[in-house]
Amino acid sequence: MLGGFQGLLSMALIGRLYYLGVIESGQYKMLAEENRISLRFLAPERGEIFDRAGRLMATNRRDYRIFLVPEQTSDVEATLNSLGQMIALSDSQTRRLLDRIRRQRSFQPVSVAENLDWKTFAKVNVASIKLPGVQPDAGRTRFYPDGRATSHVVGYVGPVTKEDVKDDPIFHIPGVKIGRAGLEATFDLALRGQAGTSRFEVNAYGRVVRELTRQEGEVGQTLTLTIDLELQKYAVERLAEKSAAAVVMDVENGDILVQASTPAFDSNQFNLGFSQEDWNALVQDPRKPLINKCLASQYPPGSTFKMIVALAALEAGVVSSSETVLCTGEHELGNRIFHCWKKNGHGRLSMTDAIGQSCDIYFYTIARRVGIAKIAAMARRFGFGEAHSIGLGGQAKGLVPDKVWKMANYGERWQIGETLIIGIGQGALLTTPLQLALMTARIANGGKQIRPRLVQALGTEPFPSARRPEMGINQRHLDLVRTGMIKTMKAGGTAFRSRIANRQYSMAGKTGTSQVRRITAAEREAGLEKLSQRPWEERDHALFVGYAPIDSPKYAVAVLVEHGGGGSAVAAPIARDILKKTMDIDPVESVAAGVVSLGAIKSSSSKG
C-alpha cells in the first residue's frame, strides 16, 4: 500500500515532467529564447543632402552621448546626480529628464546628454562601470556644414515625439531624430534608411553576454538639390540681417539656384538643443526667422506686377505698342482720384517707358480697359495663385482676386476701382517671392511654361524637369515687356542707379514698392517723404524682379525686403549684386556640375 502511494507520487512527477518537457516544451523553449535574446535596432546613416555641384548641405558626424536605462538603475536621481558631476546638468535639465523618465517605459533608454567632447565622454565611459543603467554611446548625429545659409531649404531634424506614427523600427533606437522641417521633413522616409538589427544574448541582469547575429541597416538615400551652395551663401550674406527673401531661378528649366530667407536660424541648433534665451529670441523676433519668406509668406507684388497687366492688355488687344497715355499724376474714376507715385506726373508715355518709369497712371488706364478677368487669368498663367510643388511644405498660394472671389468671400460686386488698384499690384493681390521669380523667368525665357524645381535627384533616381510647353503668348508682346524691363535700368528708369555698366552683365528688371498700410489723404497732403518716420512694421515692402543677361536670358531673380522702403533704393541693389554673382559663378554653364553631383550620389551610396 505504501509502495502504491509512493508510486502514485512518482507518476505525478513524471506526468508533470512530461507535460512541461514534451507537451508544453515548444512554448517554454520560446520563452527561454525570449529571456536570453535581446533585439536591438542599429541606427541607419541618414542620407546626405548635396547641392547641384555635389557640395554637402547635410551630413552626419560622430556624436558622443550618454543614455540612461531607468530600469537598470537602482536610484535614477542618484545616478543623474553622479552624472551631473561629469557632464554639467542644470537643475531644469535634471527635472525635465526625471519627468521624461516617469512618462516613458522604464526599459527605454533616455538620452541624458549629447554632443559631448571626447574627454568628458571618456570620463563618463570609465565611470559608467559603477553606474548601472548608464550607457555611453558613440552614435551619429546630423550636421549641416552651412546650417545658417541652408536652414530654410534643408530644414532640420528633431527627436521623435508621442504624436509620431511609430511604425518604423527606427523609432526604437534611442536618441533617433527624424526630419521636422524643410526637405528633411518632406523626404524623411527616404533619408532615414533602414534600421539594422543586432541580436544579442543577455543575462538575467540585462548585461550583454555576446552578440549573436548582426544585420547592418541601409544608408538613407541621398538628395541632390538644384541649389548652388556658393550662391546661396552669398545671397544670405547679402540680405544680411534684413527681413528679406531672394530667389534665383534658371529661366530655362525652373531650377531654383538660390532660395534665401533672412534672418535665418542655424539648423544645427535644433540638434544641439536651444537655450531658453536662444529659443525665445528666435520665436519673439519680429522678423520671424523661422518663416521661409520665399514661399511661406505672401506680399502684394506692387509694381512688379505691371508686366502681367501689360501682357493682359496686349494679348487682349486693348492697347498697342505705339499708343501713349498722358500721366498728369492723377487719374479720375467717378468722384475718386487715383494718384501716380510721381506727384507731378510723367507726361506722355509709351508702354515700355511706363514699365521703365513704373508709371501708375498708365497702368490704371490699361487695367481699366482690359478688366479684372483678363488680368487675373494672365496672372494665373504666370503661376500666381497656386502653390508649386518643389518639396517644401507650408507654401502660401498667394491670392489673385477677381469678381468670383469677391462675391464668394465678401458677397459684394467687384468695383472698377479695385481693378485699378490691382493694375499697380496692390489691393487684395498677394504673391510670394517664389512666384515672382517664376513670373520673371517665364517672361525672360519667351513664354515657356517652366516649373520650379528644387530637388533634382533622390538617390540615383533623377527628378526630371517638368515639360515646358509654350504658354502661347505673342513673342512681340513679350519683347515689348522685356524692353520695358531693360528701360528700368536705363537713364530715367526706376533702377538706373542699380544698373550694371558692364555690357557683359547687362540686366533687366522691375522695381516694386508695396504698401503695407494705405496712405491716407492727410498723409498725402503732408508729403510721402516721411516714410522712414513710420514704425518699422508699417513701412512699405521693397521688391525687385529681374533677369540677366538681356540678350539671351539665363537667370531670373526676385528680391523682397520686408518693410524695407522703396524697391529701387533697397531691393534693386541687392538683386543686382546677386545677379552679378550668379553670372560670375554661372552655375548652369558648369556642365561639370551634373557630373559632380552624380559622382556624389555614387560615392555616398557605396559608402553604405
Binding site: 505504501l2 509502495g3 509512493q6 507520487l9 512518482s10 505525478a12 512527477l13 513524471i14 508533470r16 515532467l17 512530461y18 512541461l20 518537457g21 514534451v22 508544453e24 516544451s25 512554448q27 517554454y28 523553449k29 520563452l31 527561454a32 529564447e33 529571456n35 536570453r36 544574448e201 543577455v202 543575462n203 538575467a204 541582469y205 553576454v209
Partner: protein
C-alpha cells in the same frame, strides 16, 4: 552530531569484514551515482568550473560517504539506545540556534561550530524518525491501536516543529510533520485518526496562516498564480518552468543551459538544482535521477519488509520515506506543483548539512539491512 556517538559495537555477531562484504554495494553505487549527478550539475551551474560548488560538494560527499559506511556497520541496537539521546541532542541544538544562531537567507538557521556551520533542522528529521521508531518499537502491539499511545509521538513531532517554524523554516517544519505522521501511520495506527487529523489540519489553516511570515504567505499565494508577479516572487516558478520546459526530451546539452548560465534561475545550486539538470539533460536526465531515487526507496521498503525487528522495519522505511518525500516535494515544487517551501533535493542540492543528513540516513538503512536478521525484544532491549 552523530560522529561523537561512534563507538565500536560491544556484542557483534558478525565480524567487521563479514559485514563489509554483506553490505549492499549496489545501493552504495546508486548513492554515489545520485551525488555524481549533483557534481555534474553543480559543475555546469558554475559555468563549467569545479569551483566554487562542485569541489566543495565532492569533499562533503567524501566525508559523508565514510560516515555512511561507518554508520552502516554500527549495530542496530546501539542506534536504538542512541535514539532518544540523539533526539534530545537535536532539540538542544535547535534551541541553541534560537539563541546563538547565525542568520542567513531570511532566517536564523545556522549554528557556528568552529569552522563548520551546521543546520540542526536538517539532523532533527533523522533524529525524529529514530525516536519514533524507538517509541513504537517499545509499544505493545495492542497498545498501538489505542488513542492515548499517540500522545508521545505527537509531542515528539510538535517539539522540534515548533522550534523550526520559529527560525522560520516552513519547508523543514512541514517535512517534520509529514515524516512524523508517516511514522505513526506505518506503526499501524488506525486510518480514521488520519482523517480526523487531516480535518483538524484544514481547520487550523487560517490560524496557521496568521503565524506565517509575509514572504511565506506571498510564496503560497504566488504558487496559485505565478504569472501575477513575473518580476517578483513568481519569477522563480516561472523561470523554473521555462527551464524545465525548454529542456524538452533530450535537453539543451551539457553546459548549454541558457536559463542557468545566464542567471535566470534562482537558487539554482540549492533548491532549484533539478531545473538545471532538466534544462541541460531534458526529461531523460530528470527521469534517470528520479529512477535512482526510486531504487533507494524500493531498497528501503525491501529492507523494511525483510527486517525482523520492529525498530529496524520502522527505521528503514521511515528514512527511505522521508528521503523520497524530500525528492517529491522538491521536484513538485520546482515544477510548479507545490508552493516554493525551500526543500533541498537529497544528495544533489549544494549544502553540507543536507548532504550529511541524507548520507547518515542511507547509513541507517544500510545498518538495518546488515542487521535485519537480528531480533530485538519489544521491551527493554538492553535491559
Amino acid at each position: 552530531m552523530g560522529t561523537s556517538l561512534m563507538f565500536g559495537p560491544r556484542r557483534v555477531e558478525q565480524t567487521f569484514l563479514q559485514k563489509l562484504r554483506q553490505l549492499n554495494w549496489l545501493f552504495v553505487l546508486v548513492v554515489c551515482a545520485i551525488a555524481g549527478i549533483g557534481f555534474v550539475v553543480l559543475y555546469s551551474a558554475a559555468g563549467g568550473e569545479l569551483d566554487p560548488w562542485a569541489s566543495t560538494q565532492m569533499i562533503r560527499f567524501a566525508v559523508g560517504l565514510a560516515l555512511m559506511l561507518a554508520i552502516a556497520l554500527v549495530d542496530l541496537r546501539y542506534w536504538m539506545v542512541a535514539a532518544y539521546p540523539l533526539f534530545a541532542l537535536g532539540l538542544l541544538s535547535l534551541l541553541a540556534v534560537e539563541f546563538f544562531g547565525v542568520s542567513g537567507m531570511g532566517g536564523q538557521r545556522w549554528l557556528e561550530l568552529g569552522v563548520v556551520r551546521v543546520q540542526p533542522a536538517e539532523f532533527i528529521k533523522l533524529a525524529l524518525v529514530l525516536a519514533m521508531a524507538r517509541y513504537f518499537h517499545g509499544l505493545n502491539p495492542p497498545d498501538t491501536l489505542k488513542l492515548r499511545s499517540l500522545a508521545v509521538p505527537i509531542i515528539l513531532i510538535i517539539l522540534p516543529a515548533a522550534l523550526v517554524v520559529r527560525q522560520p523554516d516552513l519547508g523543514t517544519t512541514l517535512m517534520l510533520v509529514l515524516a512524523g505522521v508517516g511514522m505513526i501511520y506505518l506503526s499501524g495506527a488506525r486510518v480514521w485518526i488520519f482523517g480526523v487529523g487531516a480535518l483538524a489540519a484544514i481547520v487550523s489553516v487560517p490560524i496557521a496562516w496568521r503565524f506565517l511570515r509575509d514572504y511565506q504567505q506571498e510564496r503560497i499565494l504566488i504558487f496559485f498564480n505565478p504569472e501575477s508577479d513575473p518580476l517578483g516572487a513568481g519569477y522563480q516558478i516561472m523561470q523554473s518552468k521555462i527551464a524545465l520546459g525548454s529542456g524538452g526530451i533530450f535537453g539543451k546539452g551539457f553546459l548549454q543551459g541558457t536559463q542557468s548560465h545566464l542567471n535566470f534561475l534562482p537558487e539554482m545550486k540549492t533548491d532549484f538544482i533539478f531545473t538545471v539538470l532538466a534544462e541541460e539533460f531534458g526529461m531523460i536526465g530528470g527521469l534517470t535521477l528520479l529512477g535512482l531515487y526510486v531504487v533507494i526507496l524500493a531498497y528501503g521498503v525491501y529492507v523494511s519488509l525483510t527486517c525482523r525487528s520492529h525498530f529496524g522495519r520502522l527505521l528503514s522505511i521511515g528514512v527511505a520515506g522521508t528521503l523520497f518525500l524530500y525528492v517529491f516535494i522538491n521536484i513538485a515544487m520546482v515544477m510548479g506543483l507545490l508552493p516554493v517551501v525551500g526543500v533541498p533535493l537529497p544528495l544533489v542540492s549544494y549544502g553540507g548539512s543536507s548532504m550529511l543528513t541524507m548520507l547518515v540516513g542511507c547509513g541507517l538503512i544500510l545498518s538495518v539491512a546488515l542487521h535485519r536478521g537480528l531480533s530485538i525484544p519489544r521491551k527493554n532491549a538492553f535491559g
